[in-house]
């Protein structure tokens, strides 16, 4: 059946009409939507941002050029054979740690400076753990040849705070662990780069 003229005319008029809803209408609809469709949190962007932050942090650690390996402080240096050390005999806990020659030299210099400082201004120890330990520092003559003072005869009494030494050892352990992690990560990155470059070459 053909459309009636009145149908067409009414339809044309009504199709052109628009009625603006009230301002509160969207708020009501939004509240209903919040109940039915929880808003999606921007987790994707959070993950991307976190990933970028991790990459930047690792990259800065790997490619850091001013990374300085701190010398390993030792409590007691190795004594030369045959050397008689009266102070060492007096020490309640004598410890002997074999070390490489380079390290021995560095540590000896460090300890020598530290001993000088401590003689001028003794370290302030904590009241609860104030157990001064006397140790002897004996520096082998061949380890510090440039030292103006003959090292063999250099015997000084120094006071060492065990807490400070313990914290130094802990710091050294932490530093070595971090170094291992950084080295292994750097190797992994290098392997990936090499693999990718090989693949690209093969494809060419």
């Amino acid at each position: 059946m053909a459309r009636h003229n009145i149908d067409k005319q009414v339809k044309r008029k009504l199709d052109e009409r628009e009625i603006k809803p009230s301002d509160a209408a969207w708020n009501r609809l939004e509240a209903m939507l919040d109940d039915e469709q929880p808003r999606r949190k921007p987790m994707k962007w959070l993950f991307i941002a976190a990933g970028i932050a991790v990459v930047v942090a690792l990259g800065s650690m790997v490619f850091r050029t001013d990374y300085v390996r701190q010398p390993a402080p030792a409590v007691v240096t190795a004594e030369p054979k045959g050397a008689v050390n009266d102070d060492a005999q007096k020490s309640p806990v004598p410890m002997v740690l074999p070390m490489p020659e380079k390290t021995q030299r560095a540590v000896a210099e460090q300890r020598h400076e530290a001993a000088r400082e401590k003689l001028v201004a003794p370290a302030v120890s904590e009241p609860t753990l104030d157990i001064p330990t006397e140790i002897a520092v004996v520096v082998a003559p061949e380890s510090v040849p440039s030292d103006p003072v003959p090292a063999v005869h250099q015997r000084k009494r120094i006071t060492v705070n065990p807490d400070v030494l313990l914290s130094e050892v802990n710091r050294e352990l932490d530093a070595s662990f971090r170094e291992k992690v950084i080295r292994s990560f750097g190797q992994s990155v290098h392997e990936v780069r090499v693999t990718l470059s090989n693949r690209n070459l093969e494809q060419q």
Binding site: D7, L14, E16, M32, Q37, R39, R40
Partner: protein, 174 residues
Amino acid sequence: MIERSLRHDRKAQHLLYNRFSPRMLSVCRQYIKDLHHAEDVMITGFMKVFLNLKQFEGKGSFEGWMRRIMVNECITHLRARRQMGFLEDETFVEDTSNDIDDLLSVDDIQAAIDNLPDGCRMIFNLYAIEGYKHREIAEMLGITEGTSKSQLSHARQLLQQQMAPLKTYDHGTA
């Protein structure tokens, strides 16, 4: 906007709402006399649009798909309020073709439609405005095709009767 609305993007949903809500409220107003009730139905309709958005397959116009949802929502609303009484008059009367004046305002036309009996208004809207066939209307409303045809004929006659004096008045010949 539709893709983003599917992902519950509230901003995109708001944009869709802003674009189509004036048209959809007009559709709801055709069926429901009270504007506030029509707005309630429109909000419920939009809720269904957003919840069933993935069912829109992109075939046909999005506005047409929304419009069908709104019309169904209006029918549900009127049925719940028992505002769909039909005179089971099986006698089909052929319409006398009369035009209405183009100068009549849309408010005059809406007022004339509002004055129709509930069943007549519903069938006139579905047939004349939405373009449903009598068989489809009969299935939607649970009536016979004959009832749909007779109600439509009755609606047209009533509309012409109401608009004739308006036409004369608008032409300034009264």
